[in-house]
Amino acid sequence: MTASSEYTDYATGEPVVDSKAPSGPINERWDKRRFEARLVNPANRRKHTIIVVGTGLAGGSAGATLAEQGYHVVQFCYQDSPRRAHSIAAQGGINAAKNYRNDGDSIHRLFYDTVKGGDFRARESNVHRLAQISVEIIDQCVAQGVPFAREYGGLLDTRSFGGVQVSRTFYARGQTGQQLLLGAYQALSRQIAAGNVEMHPRTEMLDLIVVDGRARGIVARDLITGRTDTYFADAVVLASGGYGNAFYLSTNAMNSNATAIWRAHRRGAYFANPCFTQIHPTCIPRTGDHQSKLTLMSESLRNDGRIWVPKAKGDNRPPNEIPEDERDYYLERIYPSFGNLVPRDIASRAAKNVCDEGRGVGPGGQGVYLDFADAIVRMGRKKVEEKYGNLFDMYERITAENPYEVPMRIYPAVHYTMGGLWVDYDLQTTVPGLFAIGEANFSDHGANRLGASALMQGLADGYFVLPSTINDYLARNPYQDRVTAEHPVVQKVLAETEDRLNLLLSVDGDRTPDSFHREVGELMWEFCGMARTDAGLRKALERIPQIREEFWRRIKVPGTGEEFNQSLEKANRIVDYLELAELMCLDALHRSESCGGHFREESQTPDGEAARRDGEFAYAAAWEFTGTGEAPVLHKEDLVFEYVHPTQRSYA
């Protein structure tokens, strides 16, 4: 195993250039690209097979749309049904620059807000396209029967979300993600019934097959029979979501994992900005070591709730017994003009700081109060109930505490990963024929994602962007040699996968998969979480290879590979987290500036805010894999800001 000192000794390679991004006025670029992109004759489309991995908002919408266009789609998900992908858990809403409120919103404003919200680490062209498409997404979803909230006149209702000044968020109660996903799932179901999509549920992608420099298929394991098999296509689309579960505890689904993107990275796809992680401030705190996942509560709670901790360290009186003058409403104190409504990253970090000072509340001191007492006095209990009733119920179900009487306890949790596979304007990775969409790519959110933008991006990629851009690739590579299972490369990839699984089964050690996942997750949370330091990251980078070594010595996976074996599934995903975690730490170490969700304690303004260093770091960091534990090569993509000029954020 290579020592971490060598791992940090990375080389900087050639810059990576987005060759597909058109030039010219920003609002014409998407049209221009669509016009320049070559088309595939409709009669020829059915001869092309496209593999889509994942059935969330991005994958589901892409699979359905590609099939509608006439392609033969082979789609995979690890869940028992495509309807269960984790997009379903998104609560808040979806942004769109419809300007139905006549409140000054526009495509340009959504574009501007997103670039600024991403702390100037996203690509302008992509973000503008996203804002343009946002409008079409709402039309599409309404046509599919998504039951968005409506006003009495029958028109769509919107709300303002995530601290923006306009009301552009469309929603379906607290279940917008569910409703949008079901819309995509229904469109996909129609194509499955029509025979245009060959759906493989309970089948997990374990590797990518690259033949002659092009993505030509995947290795996937049938989770019921345990059989690993190869599937071939003319292009492969990864829509497998983010990698927040590298932290063990996150708001991601238990089985969300990084294997598809990590294996693609190992086969040549660059991984961009892996350290950009979003930590959401309003999650329900953990109750003990048994905690398996964290639950998010909509940040709309911060509109009326007040956040505080006791002024004194270790004050463990019940909250109602702490007098007003012994409470520290720290967000209102530090950020008088924005108060409790500061952006997610700032609220999260402030909570961490007060807890680090020993003033946290609840079990383990990992929590702060979110108090509705004042709101109940001001608005009346009935009004609070109307507005937040379902969230209060959820809180009470999980904690058995009544938030109308006792302040809620909240703590930040890993929620979303802005980083992902590097893609060009066409959403193609550095492996020709391999595309990445949705949270799996890095493209649109920069260093911080705004609320209600994840759903927008997933659907934009899946319904509109990819189905336009993938044609260009297929038109340029119309007659590819057929790849079969007998091909030596395929044989090799399949054998490597099977060897890895067999090795996991054969170690027969004395530690469970979860124990390793928890260990690496805690390490990441401590050193690569809300606040990062050079020393801490180096410590993590020293520790990760040790955990990896121990993993392969002590892992215990009961059962066999030829059956339904959830332990084996888990262990195999951890193999990849143990490598990905290392890259996340290295990326965080190398980016010695603070920006968005990435906060380096060494780089802050005098009043403790994130200090960006545009001169050195106005680039996306795309990492090239060279071997497990071996220093990757950094390729920089310079970010140019022609329309939104970088400014330092200020919320004081």
């Binding site: 359905a64 869940q79 028992d80 049904s81 309807r83 269960r84 992908a85 984790h86 379903i88 419809k98 039309d139 599409q140 309404v142 046509a143 599919q144 029967g145 039951p147 909230a149 409506r150 006003e151 009495y152 006149g153 029958g154 028109l155 769509l156 279940q175 569910q178 409703q179 079901l182 229904q186 469109a187 179901s189 129609r190 499955i192 019934a193 549920p201 019921i224 689904a253 109750t287 003990g288 048994h290 905690q291 398996s292 996942k293 639950t295 998010l296 959820m394 179900r397 999980i398 058995a400 509109f464 189905p467 004395d510 469970t512 979860d514 124990s515 215990k556 009961p558 059956e563 339904f564």
Partner: protein
């Protein structure tokens, strides 16, 4: 808390299953039911036994993956999903029976994991609106009365967990099927396919081997999302309407 668990163990679809008894100790009332099973599985793994297989994913009550019958109740004693059931609903020393969904249309895959793909096929039969990407009119072109939009939403909330089938003495999927039909049939966008949708989905439901409805109401009691029993009545009405219309054609 110390508990005795009696869990259905079944090696695979073809094997015979039986209840196995396990003792678990040190259970916190704050644990979710699934975290309690995680604890058991950690112990089983270290003892070299196979952990209990069960479906779960989001663990926040929305994906619909978790699917356990606890002491004879689908999703256990509270009206929620298994993942949102906490151990404080049980007492120290309790014996808890854990079984899979039982219905011939939901064959057991392993232990507590069942195959619910029949639900997907019901949706494939017509649980959608034909609106290919790009063909959509402006969203505000067709206003939808708020009452209809709310009615659609209430039914669209279904998470497809299958608790209705598990609870029904007849293994019927009427509540699931009706939820989707009502969601789409009430909307103006769903109107063109209103008749074919209900006829095809009901036909597929029968094809999958689900039972019929005897209106015992068990499904609606078990539904973690509170889809009401009257949803089935609305579906029946849609079905009769569609049958009459088809008969006239």
């Amino acid at each position: 808390m110390k508990l005795t668990l009696r869990v259905w163990r079944q090696k695979n679809a073809d094997a015979e299953g039986a209840m196995s008894t396990y003792e678990v100790d040190g259970i916190s009332p704050d644990m979710s039911f699934l975290e309690m099973l995680d604890t058991l599985n950690e112990e089983l793994t270290l003892r070299g036994e196979e952990p209990v297989a069960f479906d779960h994913d989001c663990r926040e009550g929305i994906c619909g993956a978790c699917s356990l019958v606890i002491n004879g109740d689908a999703h256990g004693p509270e009206r929620t999903t298994t993942c949102q059931l906490h151990m404080r609903s049980f007492k120290d020393g309790d014996t808890i029976d854990v079984e899979p969904w039982r219905a011939s249309a939901f064959p057991v895959i392993k232990d507590l994991v069942v195959d619910r793909s029949a639900f997907d096929r019901i949706i494939q039969a017509g649980g959608y609106i034909t609106a290919p990407t790009g063909s959509a009119p402006e969203a505000h072109a067709t206003p939808v009365p708020k009452a209809d939009a709310d009615f659609a939403f209430e039914h669209a909330e279904c998470i497809g967990c299958g608790a209705c089938v598990a609870a029904c003495p007849n293994g019927a999927a009427m509540l699931f099927t009706s939820a989707k039909i009502n969601h789409l049939n009430v909307l103006p966008q769903g109107a063109p396919e209103r008749e074919t949708r209900v006829l095809d989905m009901v036909a597929q439901m029968d094809e999958e081997g689900f039972g019929g409805c005897t209106l015992t109401g068990e499904c609606a009691t078990a539904c973690p999302k509170g889809i009401p029993l009257v949803s089935i009545t609305s579906m029946n009405k849609e079905w009769l309407r569609a049958t009459r219309k088809a008969g006239r054609r």
